[in-house]
């Protein structure tokens, strides 16, 4: 009893507050947050004050004419309403109209020049992360080109600077600060995983390597931390396909991770340092090109937006950056990779267009051309291409416990899109979309399967004779 009382007394003093305006940069704080499950965190948040002075300064420094103009010229015409999947999934709730969502949050902040209170900021947070995935679909339909996705991205940054950020997002950017990766995978862990994957597969693919830090390679391949953490075979398959295609390629040790939860979190400083790591690796290794794994937001963070974070005037990364699908198509078209047409997917299948490299980076035809190589009966979702709806889990939403219910409601739109194709197989070359589709199946049980491209390609690829194992002896019955 006495013991207990003592520890309870001690707690408040040595306990560091979980909510703060600064990012998590030390392991101790990260562990505290991880151990908390968000409960104390959100309780603390309810009492966490807004620093209105600092807020004003942030606004002055960062809220530029584009945002201010957008907020002003919105005609409240409502044309953006049914472009947003949240609006559709929530029975056309007026509170889900994109223009309403942004006017009632960022609009107010700007109007009041940052003079807002805690409850207001919590509502901002719940809107910026819980009612928008930053999929930028609404922006395509607004007659004024007003993009709520962009504005919510900005709003998230404001929220972050004031400490009003979902628990998992705070942890996510903290991971990037501490590990330069979205998960606790160190450079050593990563290199170790590369070695492991070679060991596991070299017998079947003689000569297979994962060259780490090879200076002057044609391609630098960058992954998503989930791959070494939970799906190392994805890395193995990437290696096998590069190997079979005869590419000169490498993976960087430092700078191996290309994703950016910092972007979803609105931690601008962290975005910058994260992407600069990858750029430094490009420069250090003097590679010709960058290829990123099958991840949508990695591409957005490293190739589309990253150059601006890093202050690169050209707006381009140091070397040209390809999404994995671009490399695949190139390899197929140039014949570096040859697929066995007899192994094409026979059953009807459909394709998820990830916003982050389709709507926001124009890679619309690339995946369709790939589908023509791998599928016999490819059926489009409707709408599709740059008009496709978000998978339902973008912008970090998949990972945030606080908005799980909202996320699951939002998934209905993707579910119905998939059902309408009449297919049971969804190809998804994006980690986030893949997750959302998996969860969609878990929640709604519509009996679908889903896959990245890599495993499909591995099934179908023709191994050139000179790369086959010497003794392909299968059994006694010759």
């Amino acid at each position: 009893m006495a013991e207990e009382a003592k520890t309870q007394e001690e707690k408040p003093q040595d306990k560091r507050p979980l909510v703060s305006r600064v990012p998590v940069k030390d392991k101790e704080m990260l562990d505290l947050l991880l151990a908390d499950r968000g409960v104390t965190y959100y309780e603390e948040m309810k009492k966490f004050p807004v620093d209105t002075e600092a807020f004003k300064k942030t606004l002055d420094a960062s809220c530029k004419s584009r945002i201010r103009t957008w907020l002003k010229i919105c005609a409240h015409c409502g044309m953006c309403a049914d472009t947003c999947f949240f609006y559709l999934a929530n029975d056309r709730d007026p509170k889900q109209v994109p223009s309403y969502k942004i006017q009632s949050t960022l609009g107010e902040i700007v109007k009041r020049n940052g003079d807002v209170d805690t409850d207001f900021m919590i509502n901002c947070m719940d809107t910026a992360w819980g009612k928008c995935t930053c999929c930028n679909r609404c922006g395509m339909y607004c007659p004024h080109g007003i993009d709520m996705g962009v504005m919510f991205g900005y709003t998230r940054g404001l929220c972050f600077s004031q400490g009003f950020v979902p628990h998992e997002m705070k942890i996510g950017s903290g991971m990037h600060w501490i590990f330069n990766a979205q998960m606790d995978v160190t450079v050593e862990d990563y290199v170790e995983t590369c070695e492991w994957m070679v060991e596991e597969n070299e017998e079947y693919y003689p000569g297979l390597t994962i060259p780490v830090d090879k200076v002057g390679a044609d391609i630098m391949y960058v992954v998503n931390a989930r791959e070494p953490k939970h799906y190392p075979q994805d890395l193995a398959v990437a290696a096998i396909l590069f190997h079979l295609a005869g590419e000169s390629w490498t993976v960087p040790s430092k700078g191996w991770e290309g994703t950016s939860l910092a972007m979803f979190a609105g931690d601008w400083a962290c975005c910058k340092q994260q992407v600069e790591n990858v750029y430094a690796a490009m420069e250090r290794l003097k590679v010709k090109r960058y290829v990123g794994t099958e991840c949508g937001h990695q591409h957005r963070a490293t190739i589309t937006e990253g150059p601006y974070w890093a202050g690169r005037k050209s707006g381009d990364p140091p070397v040209p950056g390809l999404h994995y699908v671009e490399w695949v198509l190139e390899a197929l078209e140039t014949g570096k990779l040859k697929l066995d047409p007899a192994k094409k997917i026979k059953e009807p299948c459909t394709l998820q267009d990830p916003c982050n490299y389709v709507r926001n980076h124009g890679l619309t035809d690339v995946t369709r051309k790939i589908m023509s190589y791998i599928a016999e009966d490819f059926r489009e979702m409707s709408p599709n291409r740059e008009h496709n709806f978000c998978c339902g889990g973008g912008g970090g939403m998949n990972g945030i416990g606080r908005y799980r219910k909202e996320r699951n409601i939002g998934l209905k739109v993707k579910r119905d899109q998939i059902l309408a194709t009449g297919t049971k197989f969804v190809v998804s070359a994006c980690h986030n979309c893949w997750d959302a589709i998996r969860d969609l199946e878990e929640v709604y049980k519509i009996g679908i399967k889903w896959s990245f491209l890599k495993p499909i390609l591995l099934e179908m690829v023709i191994v050139p004779d000179h790369l086959k194992p010497k003794e392909e002896e299968e059994g006694a019955n010759e």
């Binding site: 499950r37 060991e199 939970h230 990972g399 980690h431 998996r438 399967k449 002896e473 006694a476």
Partner: protein
């Protein structure tokens, strides 16, 4: 031979036979025992949530949760672990076969022992179609031998006095042979070198006549002598047997007839669809039917 043993458990009753065998072996060989349980599947993207493999419930992946599960495992095996002091219990969230292989590689274990992990728990079942079977994943890629225990094994049978080595003459079978031979040498066991001529209609393509089969079987005997017996210096406690039929049925029947304590064979099913693979691969068929542990060897150790 077994300095370090990794026992991969689902930490439910289905693994009881395997846990008995693993702990008993560790005692016998003075091994360090690693008890490993993948407690759940990481979900919610990068978020800190897992779906518990046993309950199917969403859990927050916190240090408390991990230590609670650890405690449960410790309790489950408490009675047996009493006489063992060199063991550790490890548990974390992840894809089970990936994490089993990762740990096995990191600790350079000599043997992985596991149950068939077939009757998977509620939570695990959810991800079955995506992750494939744990046994399949582990046996295919492990660098050390993997012992699958799917039936109760009396202590004395763990002496492995009767070992059946089943071969299909593949390169992988060579690795399996070395393991079986080394073990037989060490334990002073009887080693059966067994091959079943595959006469499954459709597979061997030709329907054999009995004469032809006999001819084949003679040839196979010679081949066994050439391939394996030639490598056994001075060891003569062996027996060559060749049967015809469906390989997995024959080896199981043979092992029963000889009251074998252990079947050793290579595993190389290329089938990736987990459901098909379960039915399709010899290894799984043998494991499910055998009344003794089965060791799968895939690498030269």
């Amino acid at each position: 031979m077994f300095k370090k043993i990794l026992f991969a458990t689902t930490s439910s009753a289905i693994c009881n036979d395997a846990s008995n065998a693993a702990i008993e072996l560790a005692k016998k060989h003075n091994s360090k025992l690693y008890i490993f349980h993948a407690l759940g599947f990481p979900t919610r993207g990068f978020g800190s949530h897992v779906v518990d493999f046993k309950t199917g419930e969403h859990e927050y992946y916190s240090p408390e949760y991990v230590s609670r599960i650890k405690g449960e495992i410790e309790k489950t095996y408490a009675a047996q672990l009493k006489e063992l002091d060199n063991y550790t219990i490890e548990t974390l969230a992840g894809v089970p076969h990936t994490e089993i292989l990762r740990l096995a590689r990191k600790e350079e274990v000599d043997l992985i022992v596991m149950g068939p992990h077939t009757k998977e728990d509620k939570g695990a079942l959810l991800y079955r179609s995506m992750l494939g079977s744990t046994m399949q994943g582990v046996t295919q890629k492990a660098r050390c031998p993997v012992m699958i225990v799917s039936c109760p094994v009396p202590k004395e049978k763990l002496e492995f006095k009767n070992i059946v080595f089943g071969t299909d003459f593949s390169k992988l079978s060579d690795a399996a042979f070395i393991f079986a031979y080394d073990l037989a040498k060490e334990r002073g066991s009887m080693l059966y070198l067994f091959h079943a001529l595959d006469i499954t209609p459709g597979i061997g393509a030709a329907i054999f006549g009995q004469n032809e089969i006999d001819k084949c079987l003679y040839g196979i005997k010679d081949r066994i002598k050439e391939t394996y017996v030639s490598k056994m210096e001075g060891f003569d406690n062996y027996n060559i047997r060749t049967w015809e039929g469906i390989p997995y049925m024959e080896i199981v029947k043979f092992a029963r007839r000889k009251e074998a304590d252990l079947i050793v064979m290579a595993h190389h099913s290329k089938e990736k669809d987990p459901d098909k693979a379960i039915i399709g691969s010899t290894m799984e068929q043998v494991v499910m039917r055998a009344n003794c542990p089965v060791v799968s060897v895939n690498r030269q150790v």
